[in-house]
């Protein structure tokens, strides 16, 4: 069965995380001698993802790997794939409750969910930050825009962990920057102007973190303010080396892609597969940023 064709639909095509995921998927495809296509929308948005998905279904691949852009809104569109006889596996994000094939819920049909849990990643960021700050101080989340499930979950996990385990850390209002690093920088400076004692920022995606780091740099506050980034493309890693970013919560997108394709292959060849595979996180900070072992977790560009 070497003419199998699997399509990987990322949350958006222009993000190092998903590009790295595709790299992992291609590695698996090469190993298996099958084909994996990469097709997606320009923004993380169900309105844009649905037409792409529809067209992919029209093309009729043997399986679909998808990072659904909304847990509720993508159920109906994905059901069409399932009804057309195309096995669905979700990667990075999930639909419904994320627990598949247990007979409960509207979105029970995907075979497997392979991801590092964004909420858990947010919690991890919170723990790291709180420890850096000695368990007290003011922090805020720099986020893209409301309504994006992955970044919303990171923020949610971050806030939940702070509330549960670090009562002395005050989490200020979230600031939305529309993916504009320049606005994120100006927002940090405004937050700082209001709260001169600010001691941490959690950048929920690349541009939020880049912008926050730049704001910290302009304010000469690199020593006082802890910046945590989610995801680890090279530009964030460079900022860790230079000390502007304290740590990055790196997911393992290549692994997700690799296991995704392997799982799909298993489904297509009639084998049973686990309904969920967790791929975990690596925290990259000044201590390990130059280790050879860390290099493989840095996202490709």
């Amino acid at each position: 069965q070497d003419d199998l064709r699997i399509t990987l639909i990322p949350g958006l095509t222009t993000d190092a995380f998903y590009i790295t995921m595709n790299r992992g998927a291609q590695a698996a495809a090469d190993a298996l001698g099958i084909t994996v296509d990469f097709q997606g929308a320009e923004e993380f948005d169900p309105v844009l993802q649905t037409p792409v998905l529809d067209a992919v279904i029209g093309r009729g691949p043997d399986a679909i790997l998808i990072a659904p852009t909304d847990s509720v809104q993508m159920i109906e569109p994905l059901r069409r794939a399932s009804e057309a006889g195309i096995p669905v596996i979700t990667v990075d994000t999930f639909i419904d409750d994320g627990k598949y094939q247990d007979g409960a819920g509207d979105g029970d049909f995907p075979f497997s969910y392979i991801a590092s849990d964004n909420t858990a990643g947010g919690r991890m960021a919170a723990r790291y930050m709180a420890n850096q700050m000695g368990g007290e101080g003011k922090v805020y989340v720099s986020n893209v825009r409301p309504g994006i499930s992955t970044t919303d979950q990171r923020e949610e996990g971050f806030k939940a962990e702070m509330a549960e385990s670090f009562p002395n850390v005050e989490v200020l209002e979230t600031q939305y920057n529309e993916n504009d690093a320049s606005l994120a920088a100006s927002q940090f400076q405004a937050v700082l102007a209001r709260n001169p004692d600010i001691s941490g920022v959690f950048g929920a995606n690349l541009f939020s973190a880049l912008g926050a780091a730049n704001g910290v740099e302009s304010a000469n506050k690199a020593d006082e303010v802890t910046v945590i980034a989610f995801d680890a493309p090279t530009s964030i890693v460079n900022n860790i080396s230079s000390g502007l970013v304290d740590a990055a919560i790196a997911q393992h997108p290549a692994e997700i892609g690799y296991y995704g394709v392997m799982t799909a292959y298993a489904v297509l060849t009639g084998n049973s597969v686990p309904v969920s595979i967790g791929t975990g996180f690596t925290v990259i900070d000044a201590n390990n940023v130059n280790d050879d072992a860390t290099a493989k977790f840095i996202y490709s560009e």
């Binding site: 095509t13 990469f38 529809d54 809104q73 109906e76």
Partner: protein
């Protein structure tokens, strides 16, 4: 003569469909055109663009623009979803319809504010509707508490994903509204005044038309069709999202302009906008269907948009009208 030449845009649409079909037949041995599923998917995508583009066409013909539809859609979607959710999973048709009316009311409110700003306070429409864009966005997010409002209701789901005589409901709704807007723009006094307004506001004012009222109605209409887009959205996805319309705004505007409208007003037709919406939906579907790598798709969409307008213009050259 004149109306026959509109055939050019149809021709272009048919050309790209033909191109994709040939590609599908020869390269993948499948078919694009002759599968109901594909046609349905394309027409649903086109409907969503169209619902934002219909009222917008009239606004643009009148020489204005409405950016706020990006969030009139979201506002309507969120308001409807909230009411359906509050009513519970087994809310009946009546409740659903009331929820839809409430959603439309929310959208129409945005439209009325736009009309007031543009018609009464003389705020340029670009900037006035950019303001209400922000306001409607904030309002939708505040009402929804920031997240998407998910609902579970069999009626809404049937409405959003069902079909009537084999045609998907969104397509049927868009088709009905298209007819209404086409009638309005082409066959009524309201439409004639809209064209005249785009060419020369003074001509309409001096002819004794109440231009302020006219403008207010235009912006309400625009918000209204966009709001219907929001209702369809909530029904299709069983969730109301404040962002529901935002990613489509640019496509809707593009559809109107591909359809022959111009920034300066006085031109444009509903038929043109329909063709524009379908051209966009077809290339988006077709490019993925053909497996063009994603970044190349941006380039291809850009090229097709330009070529669509060039084709549309070549008819003027044939008419020999210009220089």
């Amino acid at each position: 003569m004149r109306s026959l030449l509109n055939a050019w845009s149809w021709l272009f649409l048919i050309l790209i469909l033909g191109f994709f079909e040939i590609y599908a037949q020869t390269q993948t041995g499948s078919t694009l055109l002759f599968r109901i599923y594909n046609l349905q998917a394309i027409s649903i995508a086109a409907s969503q663009i169209l619902l934002l583009g219909l009222g917008l066409t009239l606004v643009i013909v009148a020489g204005h623009i409405d950016l706020s539809i990006a969030f009139s859609t979201g506002f309507a979607a969120v308001v409807m979803a909230l009411i359906v959710r509050t009513a519970g999973a087994d809310a009946g048709w009546v409740t659903v319809i009331l929820a839809m009316l409430a959603g439309l009311g929310a959208a129409a409110l945005v439209g009325a504010v736009n009309g007031w700003l543009v018609a009464i306070l003389n705020v340029p429409s670009f900037i006035g509707t950019l303001g209400t864009y922000g306001i409607a966005r904030g309002a939708a997010l505040i009402v929804a508490g920031g997240a998407t409002v998910s609902i579970r209701n069999d009626h809404t789901r049937a409405f959003g994903n069902g079909d009537i005589l084999g045609l998907p409901v969104p397509l049927v709704v868009a088709a009905v509204l298209t007819l209404v807007c086409h009638y309005l723009l082409k066959h009524t006094r309201f439409g004639a005044h809209t064209y005249a307004l785009g060419a020369n506001r003074a001509s309409v004012e001096r002819a004794g038309v109440n231009v302020k009222k006219h403008l207010i109605l235009l912006f309400i209409l625009s918000a209204f069709t966009a709001g219907i887009g929001g209702l369809i959205y909530t029904s299709r996805f069983s969730a109301g999202a404040a962002n529901a319309g935002e990613p489509i705004l640019l496509y809707a505007v593009a559809a109107v302009f591909i359809g022959g409208a111009s920034l300066t007003g006085g031109q444009g037709t509903i038929t043109g906008t329909v063709i524009g919406a379908f051209i966009i939906a077809v290339i988006q579907f077709g490019l993925v269907f053909c497996g063009l790598p994603p970044y190349w798709q941006f380039v291809a969409v850009g090229l097709v948009i330009i070529v669509a307008v060039l084709v549309d213009q070549s008819k003027d050259r044939l008419m020999g009208g210009k220089s």
